[in-house]
């Protein structure tokens, strides 16, 4: 096993992908607990589609992908949050509209400029080759910021997740924390989507939270377990992908799905007793 990892890490692109991926998995899992409980998990899905549109445009214009995608997706996050909370179009329908439009824009722009090619495929389903070393630096810095902000605001995030009206009544600025979560989610998604792919990145947000909730009964434990599960699953997924040449993003999702099933069964057994 050790020799497999030695071989795996002898490729510098693998080192980069694992570094960025682990950092992103951790952030996504922490944010995911709050998003899933607030019934906002589809926002993650919507944002990744917007990210795809932004990346395609950046690619077509020969601009640095992260510098375009991060601001665009952050703006989209604020917008999606707003319409999920108060609008005449229902939140899930609005997310559907925005996601499909963003995908359509991305595909059209790419086919007009470079033609539908391997790039599109790697945006859709992820690629471990996508990371440059400057991407790694940006990703690690942003992940650390996400993690620290999350830690500092942990109690307030708990309060707003559990009971928005009580939190508001006791003077927590609920809007600010909702925005903060949306903002951090947007950054996390953009960072992760090039490894995991547009179609698969939202699994990093949803799976670890749901998996942990099968077994654990306190918010803190669910958080800690989500973080650990997410990073472990990512690592195992990458190893599997390296060993059997399976697509990286898909392998990570499959490992997550397997762990989810395992935890569901354990949860059922515990509750039966």
């Amino acid at each position: 096993m050790v020799s497999i990892w030695q071989e795996m890490f002898s490729y510098s692109f693998m080192v980069r992908a694992v570094l960025v991926g682990s950092a992103v998995s951790l952030c996504a899992a922490l944010l995911g607990v709050s998003l899933v409980l607030k019934r906002y998990s589809m926002i993650g899905d919507g944002l990744s589609h917007v990210g795809f549109g932004a990346l395609s445009i950046a690619m077509a214009m020969n601009l640095a992908p992260l510098k375009i995608a991060v601001p665009v997706v952050v703006i989209a996050a604020f917008f999606l949050l707003r319409i999920s909370q108060n609008s005449k179009i229902k939140g899930d329908a609005a997310i559907g509209l925005i996601s499909s439009s963003a995908i359509a824009i991305g595909v059209t722009v790419t086919s007009l400029t470079s033609g539908l090619n391997a790039d599109i495929n790697s945006y859709m389903f992820g690629s471990v080759l996508a990371m440059t070393s400057s991407d790694v630096k940006i990703s690690i810095v942003l992940s650390v910021i996400v993690f620290l902000l999350f830690l500092i605001c942990y109690d307030r995030i708990f309060a707003t997740t559990f009971d928005e009206s009580f939190a508001k009544a006791t003077g927590v600025n609920v809007e600010v924390y909702n925005m903060l979560i949306a903002f951090l989610t947007a950054i996390t998604i953009v960072l992760g989507m090039r490894i995991m792919g547009t179609m698969l990145i939202s699994s990093l947000i949803i799976f670890p939270a749901l998996t942990s909730m099968r077994i654990f009964n306190s918010f803190k434990r669910v958080m800690i377990s989500s973080g650990i599960i997410s990073v472990v699953c990512f690592f195992v997924g990458m190893t599997v992908s390296f060993l059997y040449s399976t697509p990286a993003g898909a392998s990570v999702v499959l490992v997550n799905a397997a762990v989810f099933l395992l935890f569901s069964i354990i949860g059922l057994v515990i509750r039966r007793r």
Binding site: L37, K38, R39, L151, I152, C153, Y154, D155, R156, F158, A159, T161, F162, D163, E164, S165, F166, A167, K168, A169, T170, G171, V172, S212, M213, F216, N217, S218, F219, K220, R221, V222
Partner: protein
């Protein structure tokens, strides 16, 4: 001394009038029941008091004894909470958030305060239980304990007995009465349950967009039997 006074309060949603010229004073230690039909503005009044709704005109003034956000609130349960993985202790502790300012973690006193309130409501044994595994009555006690962490002076309850069985309902009313009697907390409760309102409260406020009646339960009985000889009874 008034702990809360509502002056010419007007609230509108879009173009719908929700509350019109609401005036009343709540004295320290009062137990107020807000009653009225659906859509009469009960919840809106509650939200205005909590600062969740901005009034169109008029004001709600808090007595000097209530510093910023020194209000305990028992909201109606939401769907989110039904399957929420949180321990009882975590939920109760989150009530201390309003006193914390910008400190990132809870202090020892705040943790002790949470424990004390668990004891006060006789749910200390549930401390490490998961909130979603509790019965409806136990969940309400947990949320009251959380509200007590936020304030020891005033407690607002939004239809607290909805969905509870009669025995649990009685226990809940007993707790609220105890808080009012023994701990001198002011209580404001929105309720559909007129009878227990009349039994426990010291003041009744009947709303129908505007104040239909404000006074003591005895006066209210008199009012509903349409004997209007008590001049000061009818406001609005």
């Amino acid at each position: 001394m008034a702990i809360l006074s509502c002056k010419n309060l007007n609230v509108q949603y879009d173009n719908q009038v929700a509350l019109k010229d609401v005036n009343f004073d709540l004295e320290d230690g009062d137990y107020l029941c807000i009653i009225g039909d659906n859509g009469s503005g009960k919840s809106t009044l509650m939200k205005s008091i909590l600062g969740l709704v901005t009034p169109k005109s008029g004001s709600i003034q808090y007595g000097a004894q209530l510093k910023n956000h020194d209000i305990g609130y028992l909201p109606q349960q939401t769907i989110v909470q039904r399957d929420f993985p949180a321990s009882v202790y975590e939920v109760v502790l989150s009530g201390c958030l309003n006193k914390r300012g910008w400190r990132p973690f809870y202090s020892k006193e705040e943790k002790q305060r949470a424990i004390n309130n668990l004891k006060k409501l006789k749910i200390e044994h549930l401390k490490n239980k998961c909130y979603r595994d509790l019965s409806g009555g136990q969940q309400q006690r947990v949320l009251i304990a959380r509200a007590l962490c936020a304030s020891e002076k005033i407690l607002l309850l939004d239809e607290p007995v909805t969905g509870l069985d009669p025995v649990t309902t009685k226990h809940l009313y007993d707790i609220i009465e105890e808080l009012n009697r023994d701990y001198k907390m002011s209580i404001i409760m929105v309720t559909h349950d007129m009878n227990s309102g009349l039994e426990h409260a010291t003041k009744i406020l009947r709303l129908n967009k505007e104040v239909v009646f404000y006074g003591t339960p005895d006066e209210y009985l008199c009012f509903t039997n349409s004997c209007h000889h008590i001049g000061a009874v009818k406001h609005g």
